[in-house]
Amino acid sequence: MSRLSDIPIRVLPSVAAPAAGDGLGGGLGGGVHAILAELVTLLEGLVDLEHGGMIDLHSLPMDPRDRTALQHALGKGEVHATLDAQGLSQFQETSVPGIWWIEHRDPSGELVAELLEVAAVPAILACARDEIATGPGVLRSRIAGLDTRAGQGGHDRHQ
């Protein structure tokens, strides 16, 4: 090949949508079965021991077709949550109760972690006890602030 234009270009069919009947075996990694099997184990653990777990999708060798197959297998549930801390994070409940599809992105929008969490609610969403413990104080000081403002007519200001 002497010139770039000599290299023939061929458009491959999109890998985003698996062909009908492709099933779970559509991808190359063959890991979709394994992931689903691990989810079953984690779900059973959640029911019996009230202790779920997480699967890090980032570290698994998956090609786009595997990913699509996994998404198809899990489906979409009712709850969707967004966390805005050091970039946006999306929490999507799947159609399988107790399984959450989590994407963490950094401030520039890059995907930095992708997880499947097996839990009633993703742990990161719940408020920590020590933080809740600071709540009354915060509120009290705000009440005090309201009183002051009412008294002084000062402008609203958050901490």
Partner: protein, 373 residues
Amino acid sequence: MTDTSDAPLVGETLRRHGISRRGFIKFCTATASAMALPPWMGVAMAEQLRNAPRPSVVYLSFQECTGCLESFTRSFAPTIEQLIFNVISLDYDETLMAAAGDAAESALAKAMHDNFGKYVLVVDGSIPTGADGGYCTIGGRSATDILREAAKGAAAIVCVGTCSSYGGIAFADPNPTTAWPVSAIVEDKPIINVPGCPPIAEVITGTLLQFVTTGKVPDLDEQRRPKVFFGNTIHDRCYRRPFYDQGKFAKSFDDEGARNGWCLLELGCKGPTTYNACATVKWNGGTSFPIESGHGCIGCSEPGFWDKGSLYSTLSSAVWGKAGEAGPRQVLEVGAAAVAVGVVLGVASAGVSRLRQHRSEHDGIQPSGDDQP
């Protein structure tokens, strides 16, 4: 840059920068994911780090190309900003620091003095020892001297890049500057190698983070690389591995196989013998890695990769001389020489045998009709 003699805790710094608990857990989760640690470790790491002091880090550059630092500054998880501002105290780095000249050198002296025995020494570049160290001097002092002095007070040395880890391109034949890796100069300090040309950014930051979190040298392999990043070959974790198992190989860079994303082994991919995290952590924030872009692994995180023959010769192929790739010409050369010697020996051997036979005939045995079937 912070004075760290009684360093503030990481958590405190975080709060000061307005980073929430969730934000930090998320950061640690992403880091754990990048380091291929179990996801729950991210949470544990977050808790531990919040209560750890920010350690001082000194970054020395010797015979290098700044590629490693370029890579370092492109870390996505954690970002270099997150790392520098929240977790560590980068007290000296010629390239990144604002100070220059004597001010920079005195910052180095102060950091080494204040944190003696506690700071982490990061080194990139090989150390040239030829010409009395004259090939690389900073402020009139040779790289060897600077390294030796800086190493004295270091808790550990992290060698970033193939040059400081193994000597790299400067060390390659014929090694004109008599360059050496850090491990050849410093022998009494724990050394963590993070090789690669350059290393993956997340692997550099992850290694630092892990050391900072635990305060301990992680599990290393025989090349002193953290097993958590260098425990598997590229080949083991390669998404093209199924094609290898099916025997589907690209034969050239623009053939059907290459376009179909088949295994690049025959195009010289060194994945099977290269230990690195490229296939899992990937590059540019997890965008892709060389094989995903259609080029085989060149094995840059392995010792002496510059001297192991062509980047495009198959891994199992024979190598000729110190670095050259072998081919039919060498087979012919070696074969012809060996055959020639073999013929000479064979003729001599047959000659001796025939002489012995001839003599025995003269000794009285009748000549015999040899060899009728």
